[in-house]
């Protein structure tokens, strides 16, 4: 099967179509920035963009993504992504950092569609992403900063 990952066409030979996209990204393509957290779309650590939409790659199966465009943390780019990553750095958001790829992918998706989210909008868009270290207040601050920067 064929899919486009981070702008490159990738052919996966003889793969099981029931394999979650997560394991194809990590183990077959060697992109380790996307994380395994729960396997049940409950924690958001594995969030990637599929044709621009945020999806949980642990519950997205290869059979359903033939020909799609996948973007992972390693290649997320553009004005919104740069604003988000920059705000994450200036706010020193990460602690252990394991969930942060997923948090950033969710935050970018939020600001792509809603550049000036309210606090409720942010809570609602981000509550599928668990951070066990509790960086939530810093994530909210970073999203607010990125939003402000994009509004200029």
């Amino acid at each position: 099967m064929m899919l486009t990952v981070n702008g490159q066409e990738r052919v996966l030979e003889g793969v099981d179509p029931s394999m979650p996209l997560l394991w194809a990204i990590r183990d077959l393509l060697g992109l380790k920035g996307t994380k395994f957290g729960c396997g049940q779309a409950l924690c958001g650590a594995c969030t990637v963009h599929l044709d621009g939409q945020p999806v949980r790659s642990c519950q997205t199966f290869l059979a359903d993504v033939e020909g799609s465009k996948v973007t992972t943390i390693e290649a997320i780019s553009g004005l919104v992504a740069e604003a988000v990553k920059s705000a994450w750095i200036t706010n020193n958001v990460p602690q252990c950092g394991y969930c942060q790829s997923g948090q950033i992918m969710s935050a970018v998706a939020l600001l792509e569609t809603n550049p000036k989210p309210s606090r409720d909008d942010v809570n609602s868009a981000m509550s599928g992403n668990i951070c066990r270290c509790g960086t939530y207040p810093r994530i909210r601050a970073a999203i607010a900063e990125a939003s402000k920067h994009l509004g200029r």
Binding site: D16, K32, K35, E74, C96, V122, N123, I130, R140
Partner: protein
């Protein structure tokens, strides 16, 4: 001066006292390994030639100073903080600082605050435990750089000063950089007693420097245990038996073994594993394996049997705890009023975002492990026991941990990985699903406690009696250490003898062996002992008709550090001046081990049926602050972790196993229920204390006290959600 060569060709200059130190730790040489390659750092290796001056730092010819970190980074920020300490004492320019992790087990890396012989990251003690040793090492290196510069510049060492990664001849302004001096300096005599900089000269101490690991954790390049790979490795999926300690009786793998990619199916100590070319193949095949388990005493364990065991435990005599003093029986008799209460908490799970995994290579006599670990000593021990080999030869690769909170001391996954790799004849990566991670965690002990507090005519406490039944941490995690200290164990600390100075106190600990694995957990004993004391103090204040903060202040009035945190927290939170419909609860915690004093104020609104946590305020003094940003974030994170524990976390048992299987049933705090948090850090004195766990310690009591303020209900069982409160 002893010099040893490592495999990687780096020269390690051993300090003059090493031999004495080795003998001093009892020569068990607990899992010590020398001559090991250090694992490559992710935060930037210096280019070109680098001189390693001692266990803690190396200087490259490009001026880069690399802090060598043997403590593990699970998010607490210790890698940045430790690098900062070395830079401050050495006189290095911050932009020239890097760090790398090492898993070497050498005596210099054994934390003097912790358990003998172990290279271990625990007890929020990375910085307090190594502050002296790191400064000593950096100061010695600085004097060696000065000695080399003195020769090259033909100057007296007294005229040389060290800052910004340069040794400068003050009279002439001439200077040499660290990089220019490193090779010559490394040949200088190691000073036995280098001069340590004064507090004022430690310019980088107290600076809110950015975390060094942030960029790596934003672009996805930070590597965690689950990301590390061995060449030519296979993958394993594992399922564990129904009860802790279950062993496989029979395996039906007729279908599974014919499935694509499957290489091997075998029993592991507590379950069954499928080894395949790809992880997903292993997961799918494991779903088709049917195994049965031998009956085990823990098969019938349930939350009910645990509660019964704890209740029965409370009827046992137990052992008195330290901090007991005075005559409680007499004081209770003369008390104007005696409050009595029972408290309980469930098992908790660490639920680190990174599930446990271990990759192992067992080739001939050479064993290598790749994993997230808080202790290469413990993991080498687990692997060595499983294979019957010498632990000192085991090489461990460890980078960042996706959370720790007390979880990462290995055991089952390490054992499984080495057994599978040995059987497969190839490296194997074992990855536990979230379900297995919750099923075979190392839980915070469940506990049951009974307390009495006697109040005098003025309403102030005259006696405090606390008896707890729970399992031990040392007993379960460090049995060799417990054997020497018995019956001393963590639950006994902080039970009575608080800084409140209650004139008569009696603590009793009853050890009750519980049917799951017990281990360290963020805040440990202070979480349950603090829950009792701080809830009772609050209740006593209300009984006496005194404002709960003023009541605490009255008891703590002789300790200026304690009243300072209470006063600042009250000022920041607007204590007793909140909006209509909002209510506040407070808690205080003090610990000598952590050097902390902490005041927390929780603000809530609504009713018991729909309670909202509106705001958390924390003010913490844990001695000298190395990096206020790290300290503030650590306390904030600890408070949020504690809020999660308080609101919704519980592990219940049925048929020997935890009933919670993933994040839908083991519910941890998410953003929508996370309030705003304000933390202020007060830096005091010249000895650093701890920040990583302290925020968690009094959090359950602070939330419980706020619930009481809002609803009039005194809830003494956590989590509060489902035990009388519904949070929104």
């Amino acid at each position: 001066m002893n010099t040893i060569e490592t495999c990687s060709g780096r020269r390690i200059v051993a300090g003059p006292s090493r031999r004495g130190f080795l003998e001093g730790i009892g020569a068990t040489a607990f899992l010590l390994a020398f001559h090991q390659p250090v694992s490559p750092g992710r935060a930037g290796e210096p280019s070109g030639v680098s001189e390693q001056f001692n266990a803690f730092l190396a200087i490259g010819e490009d001026d880069v100073v690399t802090a060598i970190i043997a403590q593990t980074e699970g998010g607490q920020g210790n890698s940045t903080g430790m690098t900062q300490v070395i830079a401050a004492e050495l006189g290095a320019a911050w932009p020239k600082m890097r760090y790398r992790f090492t898993t070497e087990r050498r005596p210099e890396y054994i934390n003097p605050m912790l358990y003998e012989g172990l290279v271990l990251t625990a007890g929020s003690s990375s910085i307090p435990g190594f502050y002296g040793a790191m400064r000593q090492a950096a100061a010695a290196t600085r004097e060696m750089l000065v000695a080399a510069a003195a020769k090259q510049l033909g100057a007296s060492p007294d005229d040389l000063s060290v800052s910004e990664s340069k040794v400068t001849h003050s009279p002439s302004g001439r200077y040499l950089t660290f990089g220019q001096l490193a090779a010559a300096a490394a040949k200088e005599q190691v000073p036995a007693k280098p001069r340590l900089r004064t507090q004022k000269e430690l310019l980088l101490i107290g600076q809110p420097l950015d975390r060094l690991d942030v960029p790596l954790k934003v672009d996805g390049s930070a590597r965690f245990g689950l990301d590390l790979e061995a060449p030519d490795m296979l993958y394993a999926a594992v399922r564990h038996g129904p009860a802790y300690g279950s062993t496989v009786a029979a395996i039906d793998d007729a279908k599974a073994k014919t499935m694509p990619g499957v290489r091997m199916i075998m029993a592991v100590p507590q379950g069954v594993a499928v080894v395949a070319d790809q992880y997903w193949q292993a997961v799918k095949a494991l779903a088709e394996v049917r195994e049965t388990y031998a009956s085990h005493p823990n098969d019938h364990a349930s939350s009910k049997t645990v509660e019964a065991a704890l209740r029965q435990g409370l009827e046992q005599p137990g052992v008195p705890t330290m901090g007991s003093h005075g005559d409680v029986a007499v004081a209770m008799k003369s008390a104007a009023k005696v409050l009595e209460a029972e408290f309980s908490m469930p098992f908790l799970s660490h639920a680190c975002m990174e599930p446990v995994s271990c990759t192992a290579s067992v080739v001939g006599g050479q064993v290598e492990l790749w994993l997230s670990t808080k202790s290469p000593s413990l993991d080498a021990g687990h692997a060595a026991r499983a294979l019957g080999i010498d632990p000192s030869t085991i090489v461990i690769h460890n980078e960042y941990q996706g959370g720790d909170f007390g979880r990462r001391s290995g055991m089952e996954h390490t054992t499984e990985a080495v057994l599978l790799a040995k059987a497969a004849g190839r490296p194997v990566k074992v990855v536990w699903t979230r379900e297995e991670d919750l099923r075979v965690d190392q839980h915070r002990t469940a506990f049951l406690g009974r307390v009495r507090m006697g109040l005098g005519a003025d309403g102030m406490p005259v006696a405090y009696e606390a008896k707890i039944a729970c399992d031990g941490v040392w007993q379960r995690l460090f049995p060799w250490f417990y054997a020497k200290k018995k019956p001393l164990d963590l639950p006994m600390f902080s039970l009575v003898g608080s800084t409140y100075g209650i004139p008569n106190e009696a603590g009793t600990y009853v050890n009750v062996p519980l049917p799951v694995r017990i281990s360290a957990f963020r805040g440990n004993n202070d979480t349950h002992n603090g829950f009792m004391l701080e809830s009772m103090i609050d209740e006593a204040a209300h009984t006496a008709g005194i404002d709960p903060l003023a009541y605490r202040r009255k008891l703590l009035v002789k300790d200026a550090r304690s009243t300072a945190v209470l006063d600042r927290a009250a000022a920041i939170a607007g204590w007793s001046k909140v909006a209509a419909g909002h209510h506040q609860g407070a808690a205080f915690w003090q610990s000598d081990f952590y050097r902390c004093r902490l005041a927390i104020i929780v603000e809530v609104s609504g009713t018991a049926d729909a309670l909202k946590v509106e705001r958390l305020v924390g003010v913490c003094d844990s001695g000298l602050v190395i990096n206020p940003l790290l300290a503030e974030r650590a306390v904030e994170a600890g408070m949020i972790f504690g809020l999660s524990n308080a609101m919704s976390e519980r592990i219940t048992l049925a048929g020997g196993a935890p009933e919670q299987t993933n994040f839908h049933t083991y519910q941890v705090l998410r953003m929508d229920q996370t309030p705003d948090v304000t933390v202020e850090i007060i830096s005091v004195g010249d000895e650093p204390g701890s920040f990583g766990e302290v925020g968690t310690m009094p959090m359950c009591s602070a939330v419980g006290n706020a619930i009481f303020a809002a609803t009039g209900k005194r809830i003494r069982t956590t989590p509060f959600g489902g035990n009388g409160v519904t949070f929104v």
